[in-house]
Amino acid sequence: MKRMILLAACAIPAFAFAQTVPKIDSSYANWYYEGRMELYNQLNNKPADILFLGNSITERGEWHELLPGKKIANRGIGGDNTFGVLARLNGVIQQKPKKLFLLIGINDIGRGLPTEVILNNYRRILTQLTQGLPKTKIIVQSVLPMNEAKLPYAYLKNKADKIKALNEGIVPLAKEFNLTYLNLHELFADEKGELKADYTKDGIHLEPVAYVDWVNWLKQHKQL
């Protein structure tokens, strides 16, 4: 899967915030994103019990099979970032899920966006979601750690501090919006704070067993 998104064709002018920093890459609408949106736009009228919103880590989860009988909407898009999520919230809101799990941000970190920019997007996302879905239980999940030794992508190396900073910024935001925050590092991080080696082949994505454990962990924490 192409994780580094080509900028030229789909770059969108950075918003005003960007004037104080060198350059903000706010693009998201690549061919893969567009393809998924063509599908999702046909499905927005289907009611969902649980909606999973995020990037490839969400998309690759077999949530339907792991939660039989539930109406699941997997709204993960490989490569997506906070700008891409913002742009598709209308469809998500239209679907009126009873519960929504959010996990987004590693691709923002991967392209070197400043933490404040990502958090500002988080604020916009949570504002729109809480306003559009007042009855939905929204669960904000921490951005996962990575496993340095297994990462083949140079642009994702040495980002542990950025992940930590982002998650530390998400915690008070979730509190401000009165939402549940889940620290997934409790499940996914080893004693060094890295993504457990057994859970990943490439240091960032998860193996099937990780999703099984994730769902069980959410159940143990009474979130599912």
Binding site: R36, L39, L43, A48, L66, K70, K71, I72, P208, V212
Partner: protein, 217 residues
């Protein structure tokens, strides 16, 4: 993929048939399937990349859908993994397989023979399962990617004619997806395919709708 050429008994003496299937992706998918909880009255979509790419679960929310597509899979690979699927006694199996066999020039009679073996395995292991043999999709040879140039719509038609007959012999349903996805020249509709062979992910709701219109879902 390592091009192991293995002759099956069926064609011994004729020509070598590439019956390999057990590649990395196949193994990874099987490992994933093994982790999934068993479902009662499962609706199984069984096939290759065309099945795997379908977000069947999304289009049929809340239903016990299992996507058992494996990109690159062929009729030999389906036979090898069929016992596990059949053991669950699913309520329905929607099968589409064969284009990767054609890609590597497995003779149509060999593919047909594999379909008969598939039908036999399901009959024996789960006689109550409703089986839907879906026609192999046509290709669009005006834009077909190089890797699939060996696939011809003449062979697709040959195979599909046999599938219709196998369905009849076994009391299974045959659905002709060409009604939904072929243009007036019998080519895969240009607007539904990025590469002449696969469907766009946004084309699948239409597929499900077609199966519904035939009262199969």
């Amino acid at each position: 993929m390592a091009a192991l050429l293995l002759a099956t008994g069926f064609t011994a003496g004729a020509q070598a048939v590439d019956s390999t299937y057990d590649n990395n992706h196949y193994k990874e998918r099987l490992a994933l399937f093994a982790k999934m909880p068993k479902q009662k009255k499962a609706i199984v979509f069984l096939g290759n990349s065309i099945t795997e790419a379908g977000k069947w679960n999304e289009i049929l929310p809340g239903q016990p859908v299992q996507n058992r597509g494996i990109s690159g899979d062929n009729s030999f690979g389906v036979i090898a993994r069929l016992p596990e699927i059949v053991a669950q006694k699913p309520s329905k199996i929607f099968l589409m397989i064969g284009v990767n066999d054609l890609k590597r020039e497995v003779p149509v009679p060999v593919i047909i023979n594999n379909y008969r073996r598939i039908a036999g395995i399901i009959k024996q292991g789960s006689p109550k399962t409703k089986v839907v043999l879906q026609s192999v999709l046509p290709v669009n040879d005006t834009i077909l990617i190089e890797a699939f140039k060996k696939v011809t719509n003449a062979n697709v038609t040959l195979l599909n004619n046999a599938l219709e007959q196998i369905a009849r012999e076994n009391g299974y349903t045959y659905v002709n997806l060409h009604e939904a996805f072929a243009d007036e020249k019998g080519q895969l509709k240009r607007r539904e395919t990025p590469d002449g062979l696969h469907l766009k992910v946004s084309s699948y709701p239409q597929w499900v709708e077609f199966l519904r219109s035939k009262k199969l879902l």
